[in-house]
């Protein structure tokens, strides 16, 4: 009889233990069912949102690195691609049905409307092989040639009357004639700073940079738009 009593007591003890532990199993469900979020849930949501935001920023940053545009003239038109001659060399531009192609008036055209020697800007993303997958191709007018030159050297002669400066560049073994006019902006480098100056301040032996356009009838004379000199005394 005592044996039965003991077994019964152990059974009751175990049953009660299991009964008490039962609700623990349902805790997660209860938490999900709870319509009002706790402070912890809010914190978790906040952290998740921050992480999501950071991941998105990183993805955008990586994508930005592959976002490129090539400018050039068309050398070949194929079914799903264009070949361009760009300043940095030939480039193959991949297109697909989703590539938006527009003419100079921004009207949509087809790939077949692009002709050899057309000037285009292709915008898209580089693939793993470094080829541009174009999202947009824009036909542009032929770019104007920038005729400006930069001449630099030591002032060997200066005419204050005719506003002419002769420059000698020993590295290039070249001599330039610079014509100055009232529109020429004259600057001087002093103590690591660029300050406004005047033509009369320029002297023989100074180092001078002249930005300007060569005269059409005499390419040896450059009409300067900007001058910047460093005094020989500095």
């Amino acid at each position: 009889m005592n044996k039965y009593k003991s077994v019964l007591l152990v059974l009751i003890f175990l049953a009660l233990t299991i009964l008490c532990l039962g609700p623990k199993v349902n805790f997660p469900l209860q938490a999900q069912d709870n319509p009002t979020p706790t402070e912890t849930d809010e914190k978790i949501k906040g952290i998740r949102d921050t992480v999501k935001e950071k991941v998105k920023e990183q993805i955008d940053e990586i994508k930005k690195d592959t976002r490129k545009a090539f400018v050039g003239t068309v050398s070949k038109v194929a079914d799903q691609s264009l070949s361009l001659d760009t300043q940095s060399g030939p480039q193959v531009i991949k297109t697909d049905d989703e590539t938006e192609i527009v003419n100079e008036d921004r009207k949509e055209i087809g790939l077949e409307d692009i002709k050899l020697e057309d000037n285009v800007i292709a915008l898209g993303y580089l693939d793993e092989d470094g080829l541009l997958e174009a999202k947009r191709v824009v036909l542009t007018p032929e770019p104007e040639e920038d005729k400006r030159e930069i001449a630099a050297g030591i002032v060997t002669d200066i005419s204050k009357e005719s506003l002419l400066i002769t420059l000698k560049n020993e590295n290039k073994v070249k001599t330039y004639t610079i014509l100055v006019n009232s529109k020429t902006d004259v600057k001087q480098k002093e103590d690591s700073q660029i300050n406004e100056s005047e033509f009369k301040e320029i002297a023989e032996g100074d180092f001078l940079i002249a930005v300007g356009t060569p005269e059409e009838d005499n390419g040896k004379i450059i009409t300067a738009t900007t001058l910047c000199f460093v005094s020989n005394e500095e």
Partner: protein, 153 residues
Amino acid sequence: MRKEALIAILIGSIFGLAVTFGIRGSDQLLKDSQLLKNAFRSNSQEEEPTPMPTPIIDSSAEKTSALILSSPHNNDIIDQDKVVIEGITSPNALVTFLYEKEGEIIITSDGDGNFSQEIELIGGANEIKITSFDTEGKETNKIINLVYSTAEI
């Protein structure tokens, strides 16, 4: 028998409740410590500087060129009408920028050779020619092509 059964029920209940709340309490404690750890981790990540890609400099190029542009990169698409050009050249060098619409600027690099200049862009293709003259008059130039476009691609 009835007395013993009552004692067993009482002890069982106390033990069961103790175990239940013990587990629940430790679970909450673990969750809180995890939250705290994550919060600290995200804070420390914010404070750490963003790792910058190490520029790959061709040593042979370095010997002949004294003008390196750090940003922007050639053929980049810029979605604003101004861009800051940054780079490094010889210390105290004269640096010229020729850009679209007859734009021209002359600046100097600092004592470490760093320079930075804001340039205005026109819609579409922009060719920017940057030339550096060191204190001996040696010249180095780079051309960078940028496209200013606000079109979403």
